[in-house]
């Protein structure tokens, strides 16, 4: 019996040297699992000992990660609990969410019945394509991101994932996204998604270092998601779709010009050619011009049968305040006015989308009668 006891002790003695076991955690966990050994047998019985001992490794004093991050870390990161977080950072999840919201708005605005499964597939496909595009962008720009203070904590710059891992993620996500869009939605949406991906990664990203034309190309990239959503619903693109795309195209300019205004030294040192650096006057004029264009396009919305006329009234204060802030930026062009413009642009877009939805001209409702025929019942608001 004592042999068994010694064997148990030895086993536990072996295990107490490493008091934690590694269970693969692929979800949000920031702690380390710790196994505390307790004495198993007392006097040849199955009763557990009343006193337990806690063998803690001498250098492992707490259950949390050390508060001061060590300067040298393993690359790629050996902490598998952070994998999903790395993927989210790689895909710029907040930007992806905004892109998905615009494509949802495009879907909802389209004058066709709202089908939940194509909607969900469109959302999933767009999200995946956006993740892939952002991952490829980060792969290409590792040394440039290292130079700028805004981007120097990115995943690939800090070596948390290998470039191969990031590109594999991008490849898988783009193939999955295109497949979902092609087989689940329709070919037009898949084509738009794929062309958007190519436009962003192969044209916009290199162009950022060659000429200021990149801002215009990037605005087209931002304008395509609502087209995708619209095409997912109706399998065609009519004037309403182009109106939404034009609105988003115009929105990109005040948004990006305001953002880049405060980062001029960083952009200049990293070698990016942005309007804010090479032609500040043009930067301010373009931002103002496009806010006026947004207001003009919103006024055109009812004319193109996309929304009712109340939309003009409701979006007027929103757009006018946008124009006001852009005008302040144009006259003042200080860091505070640019920051205000940027922050407002982040609110302006979702609110505009919501207003679009509320004021939609026609809502189609499915009604199934007893003969199992599906009738379309138009409800005019």
């Amino acid at each position: 019996m004592s042999k068994i006891l010694h064997a148990c002790v030895r086993l536990y003695g072996y295990n107490t040297s490493t008091n934690f076991y590694h269970k693969p955690n692929f979800i949000f966990k920031k702690y380390v699992n710790l196994r505390i050994p307790i004495a198993n047998y007392v006097n040849q019985s199955n009763a557990k000992a009343s006193a337990t001992t806690l063998d803690v490794h001498p250098t492992f004093t707490s259950l949390e990660k050390p508060s001061i991050a060590p300067a040298w870390k393993p690359t790629p990161s050996t902490d598998r609990t952070n994998l999903i977080q790395h993927y989210m950072k790689l895909s710029k999840i907040r930007l992806t969410a905004l892109v998905v919201v615009t494509s949802m708005a495009g879907y909802a605005m389209a004058p066709s019945p709202f089908v939940w499964d194509t909607f969900a597939l469109c959302v999933a496909g767009t999200g995946l394509m956006s993740c892939a595009a952002n991952a490829v962008n980060q792969f290409h720009e590792v040394p440039f991101d290292a130079q700028m203070s805004r981007t120097k904590h990115r995943v690939l710059v800090c070596g948390r994932l290998t470039p191969l891992h990031a590109m594999t993620f991008a490849a898988v996500s783009s193939i999955l996204g295109t497949g979902i869009l092609y087989y689940g939605v329709n070919g037009l949406t898949a084509l738009l998604g794929l062309s958007n991906l190519i436009l962003y990664t192969s044209i916009y990203t290199p162009l950022k270092r060659i000429s200021i034309l990149n801002t215009w190309v990037g605005s087209i990239v931002g304008a395509i998601p609502p087209l995708m959503g619209w095409a997912a619903c109706t399998n065609s693109l009519n004037s309403g779709a182009w109106l939404m795309a034009a609105l988003l195209y115009c929105w990109q300019f005040p948004h990006f010009n305001a953002l880049s205004w405060n980062l001029r030294p960083d952009y200049s040192r990293a070698g990016y050619r942005m309007m804010a650096v090479t032609n500040p006057g043009l930067c301010r004029r373009v931002a103002l011009r496009h806010t006026v264009a947004i207001a003009a396009l919103s006024a055109c919305a009812p004319l193109l049968d996309t929304t009712n006329y109340w939309f003009v009234l409701e979006s007027a204060p929103l757009n006018l305040y946008f124009i006001y802030l852009a005008y302040q930026f144009y006259k003042d062009s200080s860091s505070s006015s640019s920051r205000k413009l940027f922050k407002y642009s982040l609110i302006h877009l979702p609110v505009l989308m919501v207003l679009f939805l509320i004021n939609k001209k026609k809502w189609f409702v499915f009604e199934e009668n007893s003969n199992n025929d599906i009738e379309l019942d138009e409800i005019e608001e």
């Binding site: 300067a71 040298w72 870390k73 393993p74 690359t75 792969f139 290409h140 590792v142 040394p143 290292a146 130079q147 120097k152 710059v157 800090c158 070596g159 290998t162 470039p163 191969l164 590109m167 290199p206 270092r209 060659i210 001029r264 030294p265 952009y267 200049s268 040192r269 070698g271 050619r273 804010a276 650096v277 090479t278 032609n279 500040p280 062009s333 200080s334 860091s335």
Partner: protein
Amino acid sequence: MIGPPNPVSNLRPIIRQRLLHETPLQQRLRELQDETQAWNEEFWSEHNTRFIKEKESYIKSHLNPNDERKTLTADEMSEFYKAFLDHNWKTHVKYNFEWYSRNFTLLFLALKVNLGFTR
């Protein structure tokens, strides 16, 4: 292991492991990675020191008449930034092409190593 960013080049140094019995492909990958890293560090160190020097000389040249302030306004600095970008356009484009080709080579080599090829 990846370390803290170099203060001049802003790039993080990477110390790679060398397997005792590494295949020719792994050796090629490792050597190309180290060489690319060294090339990158050299380019950015030289580029950043040049940027800082030119910026200081610009500030000094523009500050002499009025001695009361230490820094220039953003609008005055933006002329320097534009001039710097324009002067360095060719070097940037050349670096860009070189970096893209190296990056893709490294990517495909890493893919081959990962898939188990030996040469």
